[in-house]
Symmetry: C3
Subunit: 137 residues, 3 copies
């Protein structure tokens, strides 16, 4: 039995957006007690991650890390049509995740206490992002 | 219902190889309308990624990025039996993906407009690579 | 048909721990012949990876790589409550994997010859880590 649900996220530009409640809600609505939940983002300049959900400083430090290894305006980049954050957004996406796969147990995503599901917008401009949640079980 | 299909890729050395059509074809042949598609590479010096599928400069810039953070011949590496690109290939594989998990909707992988499925060969020499496509639904 | 199994790992601090036999055993016990195996870690300062399983120097070089791009005590980090390895552990987790998804074929995870499943503890102190193995098929 497979259930699919779409989450639409209107981002305000670069930063992280907590999808945990939306994903848990999709799992609850599916009625699945045991199985798998796939979260998939249909973009190449925004990505997904499971990350510490308590201290906003973690997200700030992750931005600092990414800005150091894949800086905006890096003169090494040749793919620059959409601006200085175009290619860094693809790099950030490739080394994080387009899909997360979380076990469903007792009718919910069996996350650890400190794990949250986040969309990471890598572009500076606001974007409409589409995330598909697929529950099987 | 689970279907498995193997894709064999003869690489010409370091670079990316578009598997999107092969994966979509495996999903089509499986007859699955809704479910999940797992793409898995059975190697540790080549990997998979979902990436922008329109501008070849993206792939070139990704190579530049990887060459900067995990350069061939890095004197810090001790695992060098197979040459200067041996350990960098393992590093590149670990920070990208051995598996991709894509929702199947309406009988096809529900990729975004700009998403392609790529095998990334990290070794300079040509290799025979095996990729398993598993469709459940 | 979904089967879930939990693996408890008592780590001795930073380093890699081979889970391949535990995962294969869970697949065997499930009786699943064809399907998927998801391995999921319920933490944000330890992660999972598929990696070369023959030469311990690979793991040593991976540590060197991570220590270079996300060094302990990095003055750029502001999330430091739990010490100099706190934020680097989150970074290392985000750019590796919380979930691995491996095809099951002929009753076992269809890994390549050189692929092993590893838990990567990023904290220096010993920790109790929980890994969920979910087999569907």
């Amino acid at each position: 039995m497979t259930t699919q649900h779409e989450i639409q996220v209107s981002t305000q530009g670069r930063g992280t957006y907590d999808l945990t409640a939306d994903v848990q809600s999709a799992v609850h609505d599916s009625g699945t007690r045991i199985g798998m939940c796939n979260v998939f983002i249909r973009h190449t300049s925004a990505s997904l991650m499971l990350c510490e959900n308590a201290d906003p400083a973690v997200m700030q430090d992750l931005e600092t890390f990414m800005s150091r290894i894949a800086p905006d305006g890096d003169p090494a980049n040749t793919h620059t049509q959409e601006g200085p954050d175009d290619m860094p957004s693809h790099i950030r996406s490739v080394i994080t995740h387009a899909d997360l796969n979380i076990p469903v147990r007792d009718g919910r995503c069996d996350l650890g206490t400190w794990q949250g599901v986040y969309l990471w917008e890598h572009r500076h401009a606001p974007h409409e992002r589409k995330v598909t949640v697929t529950i099987t079980g």
